[in-house]
């Protein structure tokens, strides 16, 4: 097992991104709060028990530090051992991550239903075709019914899925048949995510489930209820309301901020507000107002997954990923920043106060001390968005000296699983067949999903980029979401020309033929469900086994930090995918439980976890795993290609 201590002690560079380094060198005046890197340094040494998953705070007899290697600390006050402590903690991480995605999904479902009923007039059904697909999934009659009627029924059924008490959630039927049978056999089919999360919290309460493997059965159910439930619903309904992503050109990195325009920044995860802000920023009325205060226009930019949402649908510029949120403010160029939910640093209000920036929270679930709160209501979306943009315009005159780095990069986003299917064959022959054939013939060695966050414990963006470059150099096509996608976009890996620059010859040939980059941007972190769909399509197309666990496909989150990453990883593991984390792994102090996650779990679902802090070693492990799957499928044996001449053809037995 790799030793994570090695990565902690040394002073490491803060980022590999030149724009971030430029701002970091300048922003020495953010005291007392500083940046996440400064605060991490002050937090050292961090709690060793907490790092290894060995601290239990579930009752007031504790907190207990439990460590099997120390006689005195073998058991907590209630008698709990290290494996159970770590398992309970891990399951609670899954529950929190699944809750985050699924509450996001529920918010989208509520807006969707309001839009369908005509109660949220600023939202519309943009992708009718996807609505019909969802109607077919839910058994909603289509016929000649009005689109609104179908949407209302789909919306109501969607909301009902979150609280489904008994039956398995409907999207499980999208998985390969063999996978569905496996989930049924192991009693792993999830009910609604609300119920699964409540059960996670119950089981991890003091004195309930104290068998680590049994706890993980519930962890698997909750994670599956996220990936094939809450997250998938969020993605589907967002696509119906805002459009299914299609390839679109965008720009990314801090250099997209503009000195001579009003900079409006959206940050968080839900696209409901950011879509409206985009509409308002493009309105001639607001642009005229911006010009009236001396700006050349309004420049909308995004951070984290709100940014991914409007980038992949509209090509709106992307300022950066998780660790760049403070740096965006530190440029002094942000006139207004609005945030909704998830991955928003507590420091932002204080950092904004060092500059002229108006910092606004918009979701009642996520208020921050020191921020101005404007509650977002879908029934009055455009007016609220207009109010926010107006604040930015009014604030432009208060801007002081700005330090905007020049670095920015073009990228192509918008590779939904439907679009990949279309790109591989067009309207009349859309298919995953060309992908499968090129995996079978070896031009493409395998598929990697590289996702997840940033973490100041490791050099910002370095591990994402190093891992992905190594994978594509070895002919592995990479699917990305979230902050990981933005790291690689900044490196130029999401441009078609990256194929000839960075990819191995087989992958480059395929990418150049289709006209796609070797690294595909599939959306925000809630859109990891698109990767599940793509994997299912590859299985169903045929030739690469009968289940997701048969595919030469591996997942990774090299710079993860949030509980959502654990939930995502677990739903991939439960769906049959070997999934590796970098940076750290939250159970390393519990040997038995970690062995279950890293080895025995494969016998259960065909997928397991792994941990590797070195991105190059991680790439090697991923490629070895893919090669193992290729061997199991019989794809490792090269077949001699013989061009038959006429004489040889005549000798063929027609019978």
């Amino acid at each position: 097992m790799p030793d994570e201590k090695k990565t902690k002690k040394e002073e490491i560079p803060r980022s590999v991104d030149p724009a971030s380094l430029e701002v970091l060198a300048e922003c020495t005046d953010l005291q007392p709060i500083g940046t996440s890197w400064d605060r991490l340094k002050k937090q050292h040494p961090q709690c060793g028990f907490g790092l290894k998953g060995l601290c239990c705070r579930h009752c007031s007899m504790g907190p207990c530090r439990v460590d099997a290697s120390k006689e005195k600390l073998k058991y907590g006050v209630c008698g709990v051992d290290s494996d159970t402590v770590a398992a309970r903690h891990f399951v609670r991480m899954i529950a929190a991550g699944a809750a985050a995605h699924s509450d996001h999904g529920r918010g989208v479902a509520e807006t969707f239903l309001a839009a369908a009923k005509g109660e949220a007039k600023d939202y519309k059904i943009k992708d009718q075709q996807k609505l019909y697909g969802l109607a077919m999934d839910f058994g909603v009659e289509i016929g000649d019914r009005a689109v609104e009627d179908i949407a209302i029924e789909v919306g109501e059924k969607s909301l009902g899925i979150f609280g489904e008490q008994h039956g398995p959630i409907p999207f499980l039927k999208r998985a390969p048949l063999k996978r569905q049978a496996l989930w049924k056999e192991h009693n792993m089919e999830p009910r609604g995510v609300d119920r699964e999360i409540v059960e996670c919290m119950h089981r991890t309460h003091m004195g309930v489930d104290q068998d680590p493997e049994n706890l993980m059965m519930q962890g698997n159910r909750a994670a599956l209820a996220d990936g094939w439930g809450g997250s998938m619903l969020a993605t589907e309904l967002q696509d119906i309301m805002f459009g299914t992503p299609q390839p679109i050109l965008g720009e990314c990195n801090l250099g997209v901020l503009k000195d001579d325009e009003v900079n409006v920044v959206i940050h968080g995860h839900e696209p409901t507000l950011s879509e409206m802000v985009m509409v308002v920023c493009q309105s001639p009325e607001m642009i005229a107002k911006a010009k009236a205060v001396g700006a050349k226009g309004i420049n909308l930019g995004g951070l984290c997954c709100s940014a991914n949402e409007i980038l992949m649908r509209h090509g709106v510029a992307n300022i950066g990923n998780f660790l760049q949120q403070e740096l965006a403010l530190a440029t002094g160029a942000v006139d207004v920043m609005t945030v909704d939910v998830q991955c928003i640093m507590s420091s932002l209000a204080q950092i904004a106060s060092c500059f002229h920036t108006k910092f606004i929270t918009t979701n009642y679930r996520a208020k921050i001390k020191g921020a101005q709160h404007i509650q977002f209501e879908e029934h009055d979306a455009e007016n609220i968005a207009r109010q926010i943009v107006q604040m930015g315009i009014d604030n432009y005159k208060n801007r002081g000296v700005t330090k905007i780095p020049k670095a920015k990069c073009n990228m192509i986003a918008g590779f939904s699983h439907e679009t990949i299917n279309y790109l591989l064959g067009g309207v009349y022959r859309s298919s995953y067949k060309p992908l499968n054939e090129n995996i079978i013939n070896g031009r493409i060695r395998g598929i990697a999903g590289v996702v997840g966050c940033n973490n100041p414990k490791v050099t910002h963006d370095k591990d994402h980029i190093a891992l992905v470059k190594e994978l594509i150099a070895n002919n592995v096509i990479v699917l990305q979401t979230g902050c990981s996608a933005l790291a690689c976009a900044k490196e130029g890996l999401m441009l078609p020309e990256a194929a000839s620059q960075f990819a191995g010859p087989g992958l480059a040939e395929v990418c150049e033929t289709v006209g796609i980059p070797p690294v595909l941007h599939m959306g925000s972190c809630v859109d990891n469900s698109r990767i599940l769909m793509a994997a299912s399509a590859v299985v169903k197309e045929g030739g690469l086994g009968d289940d997701i666990c048969d595919l030469p496909a591996v997942g990774a989150a090299p710079e993860w930090m949030s509980e959502k990453a654990i939930s995502i990883g677990q739903y991939f593991v439960a769906s049959g995918v070997y999934t590796l984390l970098g940076t750290t792994f939250p159970t390393l102090g519990a040997e038995g439980f970690t062995d279950f996650l890293f080895n025995k779990h494969e016998k259960l679902t065909g997928g397991m976890w792994g941990f590797e802090p070195d991105p190059m070693v991680m790439a090697r492990k991923m490629i070895e795993a893919m090669d193992g799957k290729r061997r199991a499928l019989g794809l490792d044996k090269g077949k001699e290609r013989v061009l038959f001449d006429m004489a040889m053809r005549r000798e063929l037995d027609a019978g």
Binding site: Y132, D137, E418, K540, G542
Partner: protein, 71 residues
């Protein structure tokens, strides 16, 4: 249809030949390719779902799932 652009390339033996050149438009696109709009009405959309996205919406099993013997 625009006239085919021809470009000269050397073969492996060094002989120069004329071949069809790139067919894409030069420059950077200012908007995405809205392929979803090619399906204009409900009938076309449903037909595409059942054929193009047959993995989930076809009436028949598809690919590996239609196979009699497991891989």
């Amino acid at each position: 249809m625009a006239e085919e652009k021809k470009i000269k390339r050397k073969k492996f033996d060094g002989e120069e030949v004329e071949i069809v050149g790139e067919t894409y438009e030069e420059g950077v696109p200012d908007k995405g390719d809205n392929w979803r709009s090619k399906m204009e009405n409900r009938e076309q959309m449903l037909r595409y779902l059942k054929a193009g996205e047959r993995y989930w919406f076809s009436d028949d099993w598809y690919g590996s799932e239609r196979r009699k013997t497991p891989a």
